[in-house]
């Protein structure tokens, strides 16, 4: 396929494009066995911004997200095509010679359902650091506190760091997962519908947190909640049936979508 046909290059004059990129996908396709789940998706991820992926269930947005940390490698019969470039370095993380673990060391992920380890709060946050070989207790404690503060959880758990993580409330658990992800200073934070299992108050907490965090980390968030995308993100990509329909500034995409499909979706006519 001709590079000039890539969607983000087709009409440069009427579309705004992020300047500083943390990552970008180029003609990314992905298949589970024979089922093609992503078709030629090219999306830029702006540095220190929040990029939201929206679309109806089954449109491939979670699949897309999980390509970034090569999560699909865990399961047999999956295949990537195209490139995901991680800047700086412009390394294609899908290349054959790239170890998926090397990729996962640079990124972090928060999942749809809070999934703390059945260990203590402290051990949960420290785990990523321990995996990286950090054993100094003072350094660990400091990092754990920092991460918990970043996730706005420190005040609530500072007196019970040795309590079971599963004894926390759902919203606290999700913020704990956020802290766990942040402890390793990731370059890119992947969020897979992080608030879908939470109540509105816990959701508001997380959203506020995201706005704080983008000073320090680039965020890519999958959400089925359009209001959430509109509230927190700077850039939005709308996906449908494994394809990228439209990408643009969130404000623009929600107020003045250029595609009919996007308009139908954000006005609630389908999805």
């Amino acid at each position: 396929m001709d590079v000039m046909e890539l969607p983000h290059l087709e009409s440069p004059e009427d579309r705004v494009w992020p300047k500083l990129l943390k990552a970008e996908t180029r003609a990314l396709s992905f298949s589970y066995g024979n089922r093609l789940a992503l078709k030629n998706v090219s999306v830029p991820i702006a540095e220190y911004k929040i990029t939201a992926l929206i679309g109806p269930s089954g449109c491939g947005k979670s699949t897309f997200l999980r390509c970034f940390n090569r999560m699909h490698d865990l399961y047999p019969g999956t295949r990537y095509e195209g490139e995901i470039l991680l800047h700086p370095g412009s390394r294609n993380i899908l290349a054959r010679d790239v170890d998926p673990i090397e990729v996962r060391m640079r990124l972090a992920m928060v999942f749809q359902k809070p999934n703390p380890f059945p260990k203590s709060v402290y051990e949960n946050v420290a785990y990523g650091l321990k995996v990286r070989g950090l054993t100094d207790r003072r350094a660990l404690e400091e990092k754990v506190e920092q991460a918990l503060r970043s996730a706005a959880l420190w005040e609530e758990v500072k007196d019970r760091l040795s309590a079971q993580a599963t004894s926390l409330s759902g919203g606290q658990q999700q913020r704990l997962c956020m802290a766990r992800a942040l402890a390793t200073d990731p370059e890119l934070l992947l969020l897979d519908e992080p608030t879908s299992a939470l109540d509105p108050i816990a959701t508001a907490n997380i959203e506020e947190l995201l706005l704080d965090l983008k000073q320090r980390v680039t965020i890519l968030i999958v959400t089925h909640n359009m209001q959430q995308a509109a509230r927190v993100s700077d850039w939005t990509a709308f996906m449908y049936l494994g394809e990228l329909v439209e990408f643009g500034l969130t404000k623009q995409l929600f107020t003045n979508p250029s595609k009919k499909q996007t308009e139908d979706y954000i006005t609630g006519r389908f999805g």
Binding site: M71, L74, M109, F111, N115, F117, Y127, R180
Partner: protein, 296 residues
């Protein structure tokens, strides 16, 4: 209409209760018979004496020591092998026709009569490897016997770990090895332990394979002590020592004529049941302690 449905419910309840009573009743009866016949015979002398031609002087010391040592070696050999095999099959092996075949074979092995294992052991350990009728041979035989059970239950326990826990570890950059040893194994330890205890409980009562490899029924000495007075102070000679085990001792006494020996057999049976119960009790306790720590 409602009355008819309620009748069906009552009938089913009665049937269930009856089945339960039947099962428990039989067990209680059996246990009661053992106690009434054997309890009077159990004393310090019985536990610490060698077999004898006179029933009142006979004891189960060699069998008790034999069973304990064999359980120990069986556990040391069988558990790591079984758990490791299960981890490999569940976490590392690719799904191919070969692994499918291995899977089916392992499951079927769990149902193979134990005497077949005895025949295998007789050929392999006793004759080919020349290990003789020793504690080592018996332990290896029983280890083989429990291997399928350990593998199957360990795999099931591992499979019960939710995918999202593994993904959480992997997303943090953990290698497969780290994921398994930091998360999968600790969280599935209760299930694995249950399988191990069940397997060992089965092994301790096994008679057929032990008879097949030629265990003695009358033995008047103990295996050499593992600690010696000369350097290097630790001896593994006991592994090669002849032995007997509790079920064989029981069988030997049951087949003797005379009331006295029947009492001895019942007493030995009671001790054997207590050993099994103690093992199960330990498992329940450890499981309880662990479950308090792991939850999701």
């Amino acid at each position: 209409m409602i009355r008819r449905r309620k009748l069906a419910e009552a009938l089913f309840k009665a049937l269930g209760l009856f089945s339960l009573a039947l099962a428990i009743g039989t067990l209680a009866l059996l246990f009661g018979a053992l106690i009434s016949e054997g309890a009077g015979r159990i004393d310090w002398q019985f536990l610490t004496s060698f077999p004898s031609r006179r029933a009142t002087q006979a004891g189960i010391l060699p069998a008790l020591v034999g069973s304990s040592l064999i359980m120990l070696v069986t556990a040391v050999v069988g558990i790591p092998l079984g758990v490791a095999a299960a981890i490999y099959l569940e976490e590392y092996a690719r799904r191919t026709w070969l692994t499918e075949l291995i899977e089916v074979t392992v499951t079927n092995l769990a149902g193979v009569p134990s005497i077949i294992f005895g025949l295998l052991a007789l050929g392999l350990f006793v004759y080919m490897l020349g290990l003789g009728t020793s504690i080592l041979t018996a332990s290896l035989t029983l280890a083989l016997l429990i291997l399928p059970v350990v593998i199957v239950t360990t795999r099931e326990a591992i499979r019960a770990i939710p995918v999202h826990i593994r993904e959480a570890a992997v997303a943090l950059g953990a290698t497969k090895w780290q994921t398994v040893f930091h998360h999968v194994l600790p969280y599935s330890a209760t299930g694995i332990l249950t399988g191990i205890i069940l397997a060992l409980s089965r092994a301790i009562g096994e008679t057929a394979p032990i008879v097949t490899i030629g265990a003695l029924t009358f033995i008047a000495f103990l295996p050499p002590a593992p600690v010696t007075t000369q350097p290097p102070f630790i001896s593994f000679e006991w592994l090669m020592s002849p032995f007997t085990v509790m079920p064989i001792q029981m069988f030997a006494w049951v087949s003797r004529p005379g009331e006295d020996f029947a009492g001895n057999a019942a007493a030995a049976g009671l001790v054997l049941v207590c050993m099994t119960l103690a093992m199960n009790g330990l498992a329940i306790y450890v499981r309880y302690r662990m479950r308090k720590r792991v939850s999701w």
